[in-house]
């Protein structure tokens, strides 16, 4: 086996020999550093370029089109009731897995009778989990989640029912607007360990092309839009 330094040099030198034929490496470095610095947008579809209300309406329409369910609540205080009702209606145990997100924790979960809140990352046995999205994408009905103790990544995938809270003001038209937010949050060139774009519940069509929900991830995705007034 070629040692790795040799392999690295071999691969890069072969590419350089071809790419350097017409343009000097110095010029190419300039082009590359400009592209990385400016991150040009490209073609951003008109579909999501809407005023706030229409954008939120499109987000909901698109999320429902991929079998997510959506409801709107007036404030974070309404979350315990809303979650309790969702679980009851589906005959699910009155327990919900939640990370340490202060917005989710700001609600009075104690007051919601008999609903038990389980902390931390999912162990794979939870029936339901609750996360807070950093943003939504109206163009495709997508919710965007980042990693951390506030919203552990395992909650996005292991529970059978995934409930995602999003602040209505965080619903953007397109992915590009989400990247602006990510750069503001983490810095240019940096990322949360994970950024999950989730569009509907898990599915597979691997057997006879029959589309089925709940392949490995959640069978259901329920999006709760909080009208924070932002």
């Amino acid at each position: 086996m070629a040692d790795q330094a040799t392999a690295r040099a071999g691969i890069l030198n072969r590419i350089r020999a071809v790419n350097g034929r017409t343009t000097s490496d110095a010029d190419r470095r300039k082009v590359v550093s400009e592209r990385l610095g400016n991150a040009p947008l490209g073609v951003v579809p008109q579909r999501g370029q809407l005023p706030k209300d229409a954008r939120q309406a499109l987000f909901i329409e698109k999320a429902e089109a991929v079998q997510a369910t959506v409801e709107r609540v007036p404030s974070y205080a309404a979350l315990p009731d809303c979650v309790g009702r969702y679980l009851r209606e589906r005959n699910l145990p009155a327990a919900i897995r939640i990370g340490s997100d202060p917005r989710l924790r700001s609600a009075d979960w104690q007051a919601a009778a008999s609903l038990s809140v389980v902390d931390g990352p999912s162990d794979g046995l939870d029936m339901a989990g609750l996360s807070h999205a950093i943003a939504g994408v109206a163009e495709t009905g997508t919710v965007v989640l980042t990693a951390g103790a506030d919203n552990p990544t395992t909650i996005n995938f292991l529970p059978e029912y995934h409930l995602v809270v999003i602040d209505g003001a965080d619903i953007e038209g397109d992915m590009e607007a989400v990247w602006r937010r990510v750069r503001q949050m983490f810095g240019k060139g940096k990322m949360s360990r994970v950024v999950n774009f989730v569009t509907g519940p898990s599915r597979s069509a691997d057997i006879e092309q029959t589309l089925l929900l709940g392949a490995h991830g959640p069978r259901a995705l329920h999006i709760i839009v909080v009208d924070s007034g932002g």
Binding site: M1, A2, A7, R8, G10, I11, R14, V18, N19, R28, R29, V31, V32, R35, L36, A39, P40, L41, G42, V43, P45, K62, V66, G99, G120, P121, G124, G148, A149, P152, T153, T154, N156, F157, D174, M175, E176, W179, G189, K190, M191, S192, R193, V194, V195, N196, F197, T199, S202, R203, S204, D206, I207, E208, Q209, L212, G214, A215, H216, G217
Partner: protein, 476 residues
């Protein structure tokens, strides 16, 4: 898998006679084409996005060395490790070493075509490590000891009763009288069985749809969520990807994502698009402790600067095979290579040599549908033609074909002789066609006439008709 592309003809004959396969293949034509067309139609900017996606990849390939260096720097900054592999053997040994350091007994795997290309599963098994495929389709074919017959729908060649038989054979710990007649019950069983495996795995291996130079992120695009569980629940995440997966920025990734899912399954966005950057951090309650990327060349750099460079734009959406009449007829296994269909017909000779895969670029009717739906605007028919020329020039094509072409060329170069020969031959063949005007068998062309009749020529020759029409228009 062993390359059996040289047996394409025998494989095709078998495939055409395989009743189960023919039934399953109808799903390809029925589902993928209409869904893609609808998704493309619903986005007015779709073609503009294709143009830009092509431009992004062309730009990236023109500066691939520099973007790879930037990517490596960012991965390292985020606490990950980048490994460079010249070929399949390098990549396998790097991965085995990582597994051994962690005393790994089992690894879970997200769907990865590169892992197929480097025959990773067999290698790990030979070295005492159990690979567990977690994508439903991949899991099914792993149970059967098969290879994917499609790059995004690996088990598309199977019907549900075949899957039921395999589950009953392998999942012997479950009740015998359980109902497995519908896809939904099969899915539930696979879900329950695999759920345990994620937690037992020491290492999770995934591929990557993109590697983002700006941030050092690897991107996977899935519908099931198995890739995410693989990379989140294993204590160590290994990404194996070929070097051309690089894209410059997050915005560039978003451009290509818009054409990827639409071209593949007709979805506007796949369910899970996940950007992963480095291992678990101090504040993370979950995620892998280690993050490795194995960057594989395996023949890609040799394609740069050649007439096959454009193939490196491919994003593995599968649209070309979904729209290919040859794929519809024989399925993916007949190609005898990791990559089937039109993209495989161009890529396989590049990676394995035209001497071993010469049949594949010939397995095309040149109808052009693959190119017309390719989101990256790869001129697949043109490249297959290049391979045919290469093959001819290197005298690799079979003698009868060379003789036939030489025979035709002799007449084609002598128009008067050609016209004379055709005007004598045509009425004779027309007569042989009889009242049905069709030929049931033809010497030297049984490959055609076994499956359909050849329409017999009628009336005048093309050139006679053309001349007559030109004359009529002249007078008209």
């Amino acid at each position: 898998m062993q390359l059996t592309s040289h047996e394409f003809k025998q494989n095709s004959v078998k495939a055409l006679a395989d009743v189960q396969l023919q039934k399953a293949l109808r799903n390809v034509e029925k589902n993928f084409i209409e869904k893609r067309a609808k998704a493309a139609e619903a986005l007015p900017e779709f073609d503009a996005l294709r143009d830009n996606a092509k431009a992004i990849k062309d730009h990236t390939l023109a500066h691939l060395d520099l973007y790879l260096e930037e990517y490596e720097k960012r991965v390292t900054e985020s606490g990950g490790h980048v490994h460079w592999a010249e070929n399949a053997e390098d990549a396998r040994r790097i991965i085995l070493e990582i597994c051994r350091k962690r005393n790994a007994k089992t690894v879970t795997k997200g769907k990865s075509m590169i892992s197929e290309e480097i025959h990773l599963n067999d290698y790990l098994s030979e070295h005492g490590i159990e690979p567990v495929e977690t994508d439903l389709g991949e899991y099914i074919i792993q149970l059967r000891g098969e290879h994917p017959s499609h790059i995004i729908a690996p088990a598309v060649h199977l019907n549900k009763d075949q899957v039921e038989a395999d589950f009953r054979r392998v999942h012997t710990h479950l009740e015998l009288d359980r109902d497995l007649t519908e896809p939904v019950t099969l899915l539930a069983e696979a879900r329950a069985v695999l759920r345990q495996r994620y937690f037992q795995a020491d290492v999770g291996i995934t591929g990557a749809n993109f590697l983002v130079a700006e941030t050092g992120s690897s991107v996977i695009v899935t519908n099931e969520g198995n890739g995410d569980m693989t990379q989140t629940l294993g204590r160590c995440h290994v990404v194996v990807a070929s070097i051309e997966k690089i894209v410059p920025t997050l915005e560039d990734t978003s451009q290509i994502l818009r054409v990827l899912a639409r071209s593949a399954t007709g979805q506007e966005m796949s369910v899970y698009t996940t950007f992963s950057t480095g291992p678990k951090r101090a504040e993370d309650p979950d995620g892998p402790e280690e993050y490795h990327v194995v960057l594989l060349d395996n023949g890609r750099t040799a394609m740069l600067g050649t007439e096959y460079q454009e193939m490196l734009r491919c994003i593995r959406c599968g649209a070309c095979m979904n729209h290919c009449p040859v794929y519809h007829a024989v399925g993916g296994h007949a190609y005898g290579s990791v990559y089937p269909g039109p993209m495989g017909a161009v890529l396989t000779p590049s990676l394995n040599g035209i001497d071993k895969a010469g049949h594949l670029p010939n397995a095309s009717t040149f109808c052009g549908r693959c190119e017309s739906v390719c989101p990256m605007r790869i001129p697949l028919p043109k490249m297959m033609r290049h391979w045919r020329e290469d093959e001819f020039e290197r005298q690799l094509s079979p003698k009868p074909a060379r003789f036939g072409l030489g025979f035709w060329a002799f007449f084609a170069k002598r128009p008067a002789l050609y016209r004379a020969a055709v005007s004598i031959a045509m009425p004779i063949i027309a007569k042989l066609g009889g009242d049905r005007h069709r030929l049931k068998s033809l010497p030297l062309a049984s490959g055609w006439t076994t499956h359909r009749d050849l329409p017999a020529p009628e009336g005048k020759t093309f050139q006679q008709q053309y001349a007559a029409r030109a004359k009529a228009e002249h007078h008209g």
